[in-house]
């Protein structure tokens, strides 16, 4: 094994030149020739530069994979690509569980640290909303293995429950939170029925269609939802205390009650704290669920539907329950989103939204709760970190997304199955 093979530079050069030529052809027309009216202006320096970078990069890569270090990491990549199941070892805590108390303390302390930095506070708040969404979709896609491309529909419904509830029935945040979860779950069930007959990607496109239908109804039903103009949504209250500068919902402002100076951060801090506790509860719920018969039935059904059905598992209730649980989470997340934004309209719930949530789940490792949390934080905070790139922001985000998938095709976290031990053993 130790014998060193020579590096085939000729091969590397061939590869590099070929890649460079393709790059030149690909970048050539679009970056090199800019349309101006019905004519084009040539700016060939850019495609030449890009092609040069690609050639050089390809050459370095071709040489590197021939070195021993390169071969080793290539082998590691291959190993990562093909999955495999790891079962938790023994009863000891793994590193993820050891981190839990730190995460809890950090999470609770965060709003007070960020009190003077409202921007990052809101970004973290938004990321936390996506953690909740990711956890919900994780049940549907990660655990039950049902590909759902229209998850944002339930999210939208949750947000509109708060906005419409406040507008027509004088409902506050807390009432809407409960109602949105019930409503979301019912809608999930409604969608679940026709979908049960379908498999894999047919299911995906039906959920996508369902999402478009919900969004179009929200847009077109102007007399009720306000259509594209949207509607405003209230902030949560703490036993009747409000967090705005002046009382709007008939209560007393929080800062007046306690006699402290007003700060716009209070409202976000309060929403953050509720949401944080909610997310913690949701995580505990998910962890427990995976060990319960229902959770195990989901995973079993994902692995082999026919085997499950022949063993007497009722696939209808199992699938429906997954859809309902997922939709329930989304409904709650919608309420938090509406109160965070103070305003809802259909542009917040486009297909891209569903795609982002799905990206969180897949990048998180399809089933790993820690993974979902990390992926949500990364994917939602990344575009904000990239704001310094100005117009290149979304481009950079897309590139990072592709690179992350190539780097970790099975997600950031490797799924570790909980180990089942007999009682008393």
């Amino acid at each position: 094994m130790t014998q060193t093979r020579g590096i085939d530079y000729g091969h590397a050069v061939r590869d590099a030149v070929l890649a460079g030529m393709v790059a030149l052809l690909v970048f050539g027309p679009i970056t090199g020739l800019q349309l101006s009216g019905y004519e084009v202006v040539a700016r060939m320096q850019w495609p030449l530069l890009f092609a040069g970078i690609v050639t050089l990069g390809r050459f370095c890569m071709a040489v590197w994979v021939q070195t021993e270090a390169g071969e080793r990491s290539l082998a590691r990549m291959r190993a990562k690509r093909s999955g495999g199941v790891t079962v938790a070892e023994g009863k000891g805590k793994n590193w993820q569980q050891k981190l839990v108390p730190f995460a809890l303390i950090g999470g609770l302390a965060l709003p007070f640290i960020l009190m003077d930095n409202r921007y990052w506070l809101t970004v973290v708040l938004l990321a936390l909303i996506y953690v909740l969404l990711g956890l919900g979709l994780n049940i549907v896609v990660g655990l039950a293995g049902l590909l759902d491309l229209g998850y944002a529909a339930f999210y939208a419904v949750g947000a509109y429950v708060l906005a419409m509830g406040a507008q027509y029935w004088d409902m506050g945040f807390w009432g809407a939170l409960v109602l949105a979860m019930v409503f979301g779950a019912l809608l999930g069930m409604l969608l679940g029925f026709p979908v049960l007959r379908m498999h894999g990607d047919y299911l995906a496109i039906v959920t996508l269609g369902f999402h478009e239908i919900i969004r179009l109804i929200l847009t077109n039903w102007v007399s009720f939802t306000g259509g594209p103009n949207g509607a405003s949504a209230p902030l949560p209250t703490l036993f009747g205390l409000e967090f705005s500068r002046r009382a709007k919902q008939g209560g007393q402002p929080f800062h007046e009650f306690f006699g402290i100076d007003y700060s716009a951060s209070y409202q976000y801090m309060f929403v953050y704290l509720i949401l944080f506790l909610f997310v913690v509860a949701a995580i505990v719920f998910c962890v427990r669920l995976r060990q319960m018969p229902m959770g195990r039935a989901w995973e079993a059904l994902r692995e082999d539907e026919i085997a499950c059905r022949s063993l007497g598992i009722n696939h209808v209730t199992v699938k429906l329950s997954a859809f309902m649980m997922g939709a329930m989470f989304a409904g709650a997340a919608g309420v938090f989103f509406a109160t965070y934004q103070g305003f809802v309209n259909p542009t917040s719930f486009t297909f891209i939204e569903s795609a982002m949530i799905l990206a969180i789940v897949v990048l998180g490792g399809l089933g790993s709760i820690t993974g979902v949390v990390i992926a949500a934080l990364v994917l939602i905070m990344l575009p904000e970190v990239l704001r310094d790139f100005a117009s290149y922001r979304v481009l950079a985000f897309g590139i990072v997304m592709v690179l992350m998938m190539i780097w970790r095709p099975r997600g950031l976290m490797h799924i570790v199955r909980p180990r089942f031990t007999e009682k008393g053993a």
Binding site: Y119, P228, T347, S348, S391, V394
Partner: protein, 375 residues
């Protein structure tokens, strides 16, 4: 060990120096956020806002800035999504510590973001959000540099009935805050004039094929079509109307004010005779001519909202100077009392923060892809 005191001193002195430098810089710069869709489907409008504000900042700084303080612009991208608008608004307030905002573009972004600016007492001037609700919510720091949908609708509605004498009008919109608001306002004015439309429907933004809708318009024998929306949909719509032989007059609002409208229609011959409402052309204004020359010298045609954005910057600068304060409420109060000379002429604001005089007039497109006021 013996070197560490030296290191510490060096570090401390560097720290002091950098703090002092940043302190100096802080004192001399006033940051202004230019918020709008700099990426995404509406990026063309974001570019207009940015170009206008950029040129204005350059000109104001060249003339000595605001009492010696230079203006610095921050590009805040909301992609016309309310969610991102909230994020950038908080960023502008907290991280960038701006003293004023020019933006946002879409009304649906302006509304949630303006609540945050109002809370932080920052003056917000939107050069483009025409939805009445933007200023109707009673925020003390919200001002508007452009007209409102309801004003535009009145002009268009009256024109259709009284000047054109149309009997069968179809109203189409793009199901967006701006487009539908405009269509609704026009419909209300038409009905006030005793005319009920024969068709009121919305198309989907981002599509290009409206042939089915056009055939429907054809079957209804309309003599006028009002479109509430942007040029990206208006272009293909008017082209397909003409291709199918529908010769009804095409009328729209300021969302199609862009020479790209002719491009979007795929030829100048298709836009000939299209009518639209727009503010009295700033490009004809004496004050505006010099500024327009500057834009053209930089090989950029200041169209659409470019000059609105420029004027918004001028208003913001005047308020900073005039009120001698960076408090948004004080600046807004000053603006509501004092008219400001801008590139678009002298502008005065009413108590809500809207322009006192809305100067919407009708324009008509010719077969060279240019528009001129209807006499």
């Amino acid at each position: 060990m013996n070197r560490s005191p030296f290191k510490k001193t060096l570090f401390a002195s560097v720290l002091c120096a950098s703090m002092a430098l940043s302190g100096v810089a802080m004192a001399e710069v006033l940051k202004i956020s230019v918020a709008g869709p700099h990426t995404g489907a509406y990026a063309a409008f974001g570019e207009q806002l940015w170009r206008g504000a950029e040129q204005a900042a350059k000109d104001i700084n060249a003339a000595g800035g605001i009492n010696g303080k230079m203006l610095e612009l921050v590009k805040s991208d909301d992609a016309c999504e309310p969610k991102q608008a909230v994020a950038v608004a908080n960023r502008a307030v907290d991280a960038d510590k701006v003293v004023g905002v020019v933006g946002h573009f879409c009304s649906s972004s302006t509304m949630p973001a303006s609540e945050i600016y109002a809370d932080a007492d920052i003056l917000t001037i939107t050069p483009a959000s025409t939805n009445p609700q933007v200023t109707e919510r009673g925020l003390p720091t919200m001002m508007r540099m452009c007209g409102r949908d309801d004003q535009q609708g009145i002009v268009a509605g009256d024109y259709i009935v009284k000047k054109l004498g149309s009997k069968r009008v179809a109203i189409i919109h793009d199901k967006d805050t701006y487009g539908q608001g405009l269509a609704d306002a026009t419909r209300a004015q038409l009905r006030k004039n005793g005319l009920t439309e024969v068709l009121y429907e919305g198309l989907t933004r981002g599509e290009k094929d409206f042939n089915a809708l056009v055939t429907k318009i054809r079957s209804l024998n309309t003599d006028a079509v009002y479109f509430g929306g942007l040029h990206t949909e208006a272009g293909p719509l008017v082209r397909q109307m003409r291709e199918q032989g529908v010769n009804a007059v095409f009328i729209s609002g300021d969302g199609i004010v862009s020479e790209d409208f002719a491009t979007a229609a795929g030829g100048n011959n298709f836009v000939k005779g299209v009518q639209m409402t727009f503010g009295a052309d700033p490009r004809k204004n004496a004050a505006g001519k010099a500024v327009i020359e500057k834009f053209r010298a930089a090989n950029y045609e200041p169209e659409g909202y470019t000059l609105y954005s420029y004027a918004s910057m001028q208003v913001l600068a005047a308020a900073l100077k005039g009120s001698g304060s960076t408090s948004g409420a004080k600046m807004a109060a000053w603006l509501k009392k004092n008219p400001v000379d801008t590139v678009m002429g002298s502008k005065a604001f009413d108590a809500k923060g809207d322009l006192q005089v809305s100067d919407y007039v009708m324009y008509s497109w010719d077969d060279k892809g240019k528009y001129a006021e209807v006499q």
